[in-house]
């Protein structure tokens, strides 16, 4: 080889090494601390936790319980006097994000991971779909018309269209049906350890899915009476739904540090772990007091300067004599109730009392009514003797009551006091405008006009989605199911 060639070759070689190492130098754009593939349960666990924290925190629990007036703010003595209808844009935004990004989208990603696995994990997909159905049920009952069919598909639908609430609720039912058909109780492939509700017991998941369908149909039936038939079908087989407290869907919390209920953690951070902000509202307490409801000592703590229980109005200035929402409800390990036996029992009682899909039957209604009221008292660990006494002497007899359906609504309203998202739906569906149970009046400080009916859409959606409803609904606008 000639010297000149040597030089040329070595130059060419150097250049080649240079170019390839140059490429190597730049190929470092992979994050060493993230994963490109994960098991569905890891996303499922995150989605559940994010969802439940949001529900029990300052973006949902606090504003909704004040605006639906199931809890009182105590004015300046407590949480602070203000316009309880002035919902912070951060709360609407964070809530929306929980349903669509932190919660919903991670469930969607988990479903995709489960279904696209070499051996598809159908049960895991079903578990995720049932929870997703609940998220979307909450989204639509809080915001009204929402993106459903075009949601969670950024590439195909960068600006999702809004579906009518009716279609969303139908979609919730379809999601449940889809999940039920996917469930294979014999398959070992499922989310087990991360399934904090049922530890992988797929038969309980089926019951939950049917219960969600039932609840959804009960929300729809006033506006769309044809739903009565489907209600009847489910009622014909009550054991296909939640049929004991053991079937309850509860998100558990613990006494260990950082594992406490979010309601407690807010107090832990600001008020020494004790509730100094929220008070018994007459709208709930006044139903309980005359009958010496055994849940009173579980729901409320007497004021530091009081010997008796006393409730205040929503924005009334409280003092040391006003009863507080109890330390029991806000205890560290209070589970977050997502679906309960008492809830389904009272809905069943309502269906029989109103004759929805079944012949009206106040006797059967009474059985479910008693079952629901007792389940609620038991769930809140009320004094057993007092419960016994209440059930035998105070429980309303629906057959003799002037308005049996109202009596059921009262119990539903009381039972849901610590679950404001549900109590807000319950109040709106309990009767046409002006005839809801309870009859609420405009809270002090709220702008003149009708009572609040929904959360407004969040700014994040208004500014980034050209397909939002036009005109945008305002907080006093009723949604489809609300008569």
């Amino acid at each position: 080889m000639k010297f000149r060639n040597k030089i040329i070759y070595s130059l060419a070689l150097t250049l080649a090494i240079g170019v390839s190492s140059c490429k190597k130098t730049l190929d470092i754009n992979t994050n060493p601390y993230t994963a490109t593939k994960v098991e569905p349960k890891l996303l499922f666990g995150y989605a559940l936790t994010a969802w439940d924290a949001a529900k029990n925190g300052g973006d949902v629990q606090i504003p909704v319980m004040l605006m639906d007036q199931s809890v009182a703010s105590g004015g300046n003595y407590g949480w602070g006097a203000g316009n309880v209808y002035d919902i912070s844009p951060y709360s609407t935004g964070n809530t929306w994000n929980t349903y669509y990004t932190n919660g919903g989208n991670n469930l969607k990603l988990a479903i995709k991971a489960a279904e696209s696995a070499t051996t598809p994990n159908k049960n895991a997909a079903a578990q995720c779909k049932i929870v997703l159905a609940q998220l979307l049920y909450e989204t639509t009952t809080l915001f009204g018309d929402i993106p459903f069919s075009e949601a969670y598909q950024p590439d195909k639908f960068p600006s999702p269209h809004y579906d009518n609430q009716k279609d969303v609720l139908e979609g919730v039912i379809s999601l449940c049906n889809e999940a039920i058909s996917q469930i294979d109780v014999t398959s070992p492939l499922k989310i087990t350890d991360y399934d904090v509700f049922y530890k992988g017991d797929m038969s309980k998941w089926t019951k939950l899915a049917n219960s969600i369908k039932f609840k959804t149909l009960m929300v729809m039936v006033d506006k769309d009476p044809t739903k009565a038939a489907a209600i009847g079908t489910l009622l014909a087989n009550p054991s296909s739904m939640i049929s004991s407290a053991a079937d309850n869907e509860l998100f558990p919390y613990y006494t260990a540090t950082n594992q406490e209920n979010p309601k407690y953690r807010l107090f832990k951070q600001y008020t020494n772990g004790e509730n100094q902000w929220f008070f018994a509202n007459k709208n709930v307490f006044d139903f309980m007091q005359p009958k010496n409801d055994p849940r009173i000592p579980k729901f409320f703590d007497k004021g530091p300067k009081a010997t008796t229980y006393k409730a205040v109005d929503t924005e009334e200035e409280a003092d040391g004599t006003a009863s507080l929402i109890s330390a029991y409800l806000n205890r560290k390990n209070a589970p977050s109730v997502i679906f309960s036996y008492q809830e389904i029992s009272l809905l069943e009682a309502e269906a029989y009392a109103r004759g929805l899909g079944v012949p009206k039957n106040l006797v059967t209604a009474q059985q479910y009514f008693a079952q629901g009221v007792k389940a609620s008292m038991d769930f809140y660990e009320s004094d057993a003797t007092a419960v016994q006494a209440y059930m035998s002497t105070q429980l309303t007899n629906l057959s003799t009551a002037t308005d049996p359906v109202k009596e059921i609504h009262i119990q539903q309203w009381v039972d849901l006091m610590d679950r404001p998202l549900e109590s807000f739906v319950q109040w709106r569906r309990s009767g046409p405008s002006g005839n809801e149970v309870p009859a609420l009046t405009l809270p002090v400080g709220a702008p003149a006009g009708p009572l609040i009916r929904r959360y407004p859409l969040p700014n994040s959606e208004i500014t980034a989605n050209p397909n939002i409803p036009n005109p945008q609904p305002v907080f006093t606008d009723k949604m489809w199911f609300d008569l």
């Binding site: 140059c22 130098t25 730049l26 470092i28 754009n29 992979t30 994050n31 994963a35 490109t36 994960v38 996303l43 666990g45 995150y46 936790t49 924290a53 925190g57 300052g58 300046n76 203000g82 316009n83 002035d86 912070s88 951060y90 709360s91 929306w96 994000n97 929980t98 669509y100 932190n102 969607k108 990603l109 993106p147 949601a151 950024p154 960068p158 600006s159 999702p160 399934d195 904090v196 919390y253 613990y254 260990a256 540090t257 950082n258 594992q259 979010p262 807010l266 832990k268 951070q269 600001y270 008020t271 020494n272 002090v444 400080g445 003149a448 994040s460 959606e461 500014t463 980034a464 050209p466």
Partner: protein, 1042 residues
């Protein structure tokens, strides 16, 4: 000691000379022809010998010369050298003339290229060492405030060692502005404290604050893209080129000492009412830390329980807030040794800053050790090393903003007027149990003395940055240079919350460890040839760049401690660790061709190609060019002999395009491990492991995009530099226009897509503005001169384009509905809740309670000023000099969360006085939309509590304009005759100096309008939320050189 030896040696030398030859002593004075002023430091040599001396501070010299000596050579930088015959004289006075060729200054520009200022085709501001070393500020960036046109400097908080934000020529990007800092050729990180609404919001400073101003020779601020084109992407928001001081070749060791002692107090404290105690609707109640209780004068016949459980008669303590703060002190010292021989030079410097803040228990210590050493190995090869080690230790940085019971200013400003600060200080802790004595009965508010004594936020930084330059000059026309540099630091942050603290009864602590490393290498080949064609000089630079940046962080949050005040992980019942990491590389190749014609017409063309690791493989290579030109027309005119009133005139113009990349890891779809979930009023809530859910992952919140392309910025500028009447009047005018297109941003998408943001190329932001610098010398006589420097800048920012269908983009969020947004057709603005108004502007009142009605998400005002201006006046008389800098800002809005807090809690002065119900002037809107005057009375407390709450943005919005006396300096240089040679002292200057002295005019009550709670790293500004008050400082300075 060395000085003594040297003196003895010199004396010996002189004695020896006397013994050898007959000498004669010559004395004299060297002055400048132009103004007759003495010139210090002028070299005076005896021709043909090695004998020589320098003039002293008064221009005097004395030298012993051999009797046969003929001539003296007198030379000084910037003046024409002279050779003077001695003859029989023993007194030789010399008058030196300015060297017209040297009139323009040498400026260090991109990649360390030194250029004649006159040849620059773009605007650049140079801040000289003098500007930085007198009236020093611990953060060197603060010393630029008001001194350079087009450069906006804002100190973010009064936190000791707090951060300072710099914006050059407006914000160009939706991601904010990131100015590039270069020290001796090596880029330095200017990392900032995370800002915004996060809880535990502590200002940990910006990393450029680690520099010692005493080590800086000059700072060149390159503002436009043409100036920074060679740096490429990283300098799209401008660059600050810092050159450190060197030793002088051929000079004996000299020692300089610069010492200051300064005292600080709060510049602005809130105005309080002093008539009402704490309580609710006029009734005293210890549960509240506010001012809504009874009128103190009305209850003098009663006793009330105070926070300490004592029965007291209420009394106002008007100074309780003022007395919480103490006089801060700072000691800034620098000692530098420098010198050199023919081949080598060195400078070694040690700086220290020791500060005690106005907040008790807050301290800052900073030490810098710097070495700059150069060596010329032979005619062709030379090298230089410059490096600095710095250590910062700061304790007691206060928490600001909200959602944290440790927020200090909220606690202090929120003190009820009847609380005696001395009693509070003496009783913050129960002497028996050691438990905290809370301010309020519901134990929600921490005692401020508990916070400062036990709940501290501390940090330490160990940092090294340095550059090694090797220069090889094989031929006269060719220079090969390699600059290898690095910037490495480790920062440790710790925050402690003692058991028994409200909000964290069981205590907690956080440790954060941040490791940063940047390695940079530039290789340059410079060809330069004069008269390549007749009258044309050429310079061609070809270069390559390698840059790697890595940041790694780990954070451990530990909660619920077993043993009190034992901050170790095993003592905590829960620990949550997390890791952060990012690494990116950039390769660049660039060239710069400079041509000059007869030294009055200059043309520069540059091009750079970058390859970035953060962009998709197909689009990671990008090229961008620039061209700039300068025409010194006065050189042509002077040849005509006319226009003598024009001393200097230049026109300049430039055009540039700059491409830039994005952050790493934005391309792949990834799942992130998470330990927290969001909980309103707490923020990130440590949640995992949670029972059976031991590990949690989530998908990305930002939809990644594998098709990103580089961002492009186009800019042009034209300007002129004019000097009249023998340089007595100087004017520098500049117009620029910048458009940043295809921005690499994460834009908000409809969350119903499952994602909050999406990475993409979108949006155009333009900035257009003028910069004017005016220098006047109204008086210049023998012993007196008066200089005026004015700089004025006006920038108009406009968002010209976002993505299709998107009209606005949220840049930053504050609390309670306040947002900073970009909207098409507008500049960045502040948006939030406004009062509803009738068409005639009157408030619309709620007829039920007499309160004003509000509407959310409205435009409130512009974020940025219409214009800013700095005026510096300096006077010098003999050895005295005095200068003062006044800083103006006009326009923009400012939101004060502190004002909101003081008003809603009934503590602000405006909530005092008569608290009877009244009718708020306004109108009531009826159902048919008609307006009638309001007649509904409103309760006084409710009026303030409801209308001025933080969520009513407009209620606490103010005009952000201000006028500030930024700096005052007075100094006196002692006559050199005072110092005998024995002391070794060559010069001594004493001075009085003050910074941030006086807020001359402000429309913001209660706080300094410059504060910003978003922090220096955020696009957000103009919002303050319980910020630490900024300080005014005043002190003495002594400078000595040996």
């Amino acid at each position: 000691m060395k000085q003594k030896l040297l003196s003895i040696f010199l004396v010996c030398l002189m004695l020896a000379s006397v013994a050898i030859a007959q000498d004669k002593r010559i004395t004299g004075k060297v002055t400048a022809k132009e103004d007759g002023l003495p010139l210090p430091g002028v070299s005076v040599k005896v021709t043909g010998t090695k004998l020589g001396t320098q003039t002293d501070a008064n221009g005097n010299f004395a030298i012993n010369v051999p009797t046969d000596a003929k001539n003296l050579e007198v030379s000084y930088v910037g003046f024409n050298p002279q050779t003077i015959a001695i003859g029989a004289r023993s007194v030789v006075n010399v008058i030196l003339e300015t060297d017209s060729k040297q009139l323009s200054e040498v400026v260090v520009t991109a990649v360390g290229i030194t250029r004649d200022q006159k040849s620059l085709g773009y605007g650049a501001s140079v801040i000289k060492s003098d500007e930085l070393t007198t009236a020093r500020d611990a953060n060197v960036l603060n010393a630029i405030a008001g001194k350079a046109a087009g450069v906006r400097i804002n100190s973010q908080s009064g936190t000791l060692g707090g951060s300072t934000k710099i914006v050059i020529r407006g914000v160009n990007s939706l991601n904010g502005s990131n100015v590039l800092f270069i020290v001796d050729g090596t880029p330095l990180d200017n990392g900032n404290a995370a800002g915004g609404t996060i809880s535990n919001n502590v200002d940990y400073g910006n990393r450029i604050g680690d520099l010692s101003s005493d080590d800086i020779e000059s700072m060149t601020i390159l503002k436009g893209a043409a100036a920074t084109a060679l740096y490429g992407s990283r300098a799209k928001d401008g660059a600050v080129i810092i050159t450190t001081k060197k030793g002088k070749k051929n000079s004996p060791t000299s020692i300089s000492v610069n010492s200051s002692v300064r005292f600080d107090n709060a510049l602005v404290l809130p105005d309080f009412q002093n008539q009402y105690a704490q309580g609710n609707f006029g009734a005293y109640n210890l549960k509240y830390t506010n001012g809504w209780g009874p009128k103190i004068a009305d209850v003098q016949n009663q006793k009330f329980t105070d926070f300490n459980g004592d029965q007291v008669t209420l009394q106002a303590y008007p100074n309780n807030v003022k007395d919480f703060f103490k006089t801060g002190s700072s000691y800034t010292n620098n000692i530098a040794f420098s010198g050199g021989d023919e081949k080598s030079d060195y400078r070694f410097s040690f700086s220290s800053v020791n500060e005690n803040g106005i907040i008790p228990k807050s301290t800052l210590d900073r030490y810098n050790l710097s070495l700059n050493a150069g060596r010329k190995f032979n005619d062709k090869l030379s090298s230089r090393f410059s490096g600095t080690y710095s250590r910062i230790k700061a304790d007691g940085r206060p928490a600001q903003s909200s959602n944290n019971s440790n927020v200090l200013s909220a606690t202090i400003f929120g003190l009820p007027r009847v609380v005696d600060i001395n009693k509070l200080k003496a009783n913050y802790q129960d002497p028996v149990t050691g438990n905290q004595t809370f301010l309020s009965t519901d134990k929600t508010g921490n005692n401020p003395f508990w916070i400062i004594n036990y709940n501290q936020n501390n940090n330490t930084v160990d940092r090294f940055y340095g550059t090694y330059t090797l220069e090889y000059k094989p031929y006269d026309f060719l220079t090969l240079t390699n600059n290898l540099g690095g910037d490495i630091y480790d920062e440790k942050r710790a925050s402690f919350t003692r058991k028994g603290t409200a909000g964290f009864a069981n205590g907690k602590f956080n440790n954060t460890d941040i490791f940063y490393r940047q390695i940079n290498d530039d290789f340059l080949a410079t060809f330069s040839k004069d008269n390549i064609v007749k009258d044309i000089n050429l310079k061609l630079i070809l270069g390559g760049n390698y840059n790697e940046r890595q940041i790694q962080s780990s954070d451990v949050a530990a909660t619920d401690l077993t043993i009190d005040q034992l901050y170790t992980y095993t003592n905590a019942s829960s620990t949550t660790p997390s890791i952060g990491f990012s690494k990116q590389r950039l390769l660049g190749a660039y060239g710069n061709l400079s041509l000059s014609y007869k030294n009055y017409l200059f043309l520069d063309v540059t091009g750079r190609n970058d390859w970035s690791s953060t962009l998709p493989v197909d689009s990671r290579s990008y090229f961008y060019p620039s061209v700039s030109s300068s025409f010194v027309f006065s050189d042509l005119l002077s040849k005509t002999g006319k226009y003598k009133w024009l001393s200097f005139g230049k026109l300049r113009a430039s055009y540039a395009q700059v491409g830039s990349d994005t952050g790493p890891y934005g391309l792949d779809f990834q799942y992130f491990p998470v330990s927290t979930v969001f909980l309103q009023y707490i923020g990130s809530l440590n949640a995992f492991p949670l029972g059976a859910i031991t590990t949690a992952f989530r998908g990305p919140g930002t939809l990644p995009n594998a098709n990103l392309v580089p961002q492009k910025q186009n800019s042009y500028e034209v300007g002129t530099e004019l000097k009249f009447l023998n340089n007595r009047i100087g004017l520098d005018f500049n117009y620029y226009n910048t458009a940043t297109k295809n921005q690499l941003i994460s834009i908000s998408v409809a969350p119903s897509t499952g994602y909050s943001l999406k990475s993409l190329n979108a949006g155009t932001i333009s900035n257009e503005g003028i910069e004017v610098a005016l220098n006047l010398v109204p008086v210049k006589v023998k012993n007196f001169s008066w200089d005026i420097n004015v700089n004025y800048s006006k920038n108009k920012q406009k968002v010209t384009e976002l993505i299709d269908g998107v009209k606005e983009y949220s840049l930053a969020s504050g609390y309670s509905g306040l947002q900073i947004k970009a909207k098409v057709g507008e500049s960045f603005g502040l948006y939030g809740t406004k009062f509803q108004r009738a068409p005639d502007g009157q408030f619309i009142i709620n007829p039920n309670n007499g309160l004003r009605l509000v509407e959310a998400n409205k435009f409130i005002g512009n974020l940025y000023p219409d214009w800013t201006m700095g005026i510096n006046n300096s006077f010098s008389y003999k050895n005295f000099s005095l200068s003062g800098l006044v800083d103006f800002r006009q326009g923009g809005v400012f939101y004060s969360g502190t004002a909101a807090g003081l008003r809603t809690s009934g503590l602000a002065a405006e909530t005092g006085g008569n608290r009877a119900n009244f009718v708020d002037p306004g109108v009531i809107k009826d159902k048919s939309g008609n307006f009638t005057p309001n007649t509904k009375e409103v309760n006084f407390q409710q009026f303030w509590q409801q209308n001025y709450q933080t969520s009513n943005t407009e209620a606490n919005i103010f005009d952000a304009s201000y006028v500030k006396l930024r700096e005052i300096r007075f100094s006196y240089t002692l006559p050199s005759s005072l110092f005998s040679a024995k002391t070794g002292i060559r010069s001594a200057t004493i001075g009085v100096e003050g910074r941030n002295l006086w807020l001359i005019k402000s429309k913001v009550p209660h706080v300094d309008p410059e504060l910003n709670f978003f922090g220096a790293g955020s696009t957000g500004e103009g919002v303050e939320f319980n910020s630490v008050p900024s300080t005014r400082s005043f002190g003495l300075n002594l400078r000595l050189s040996f």
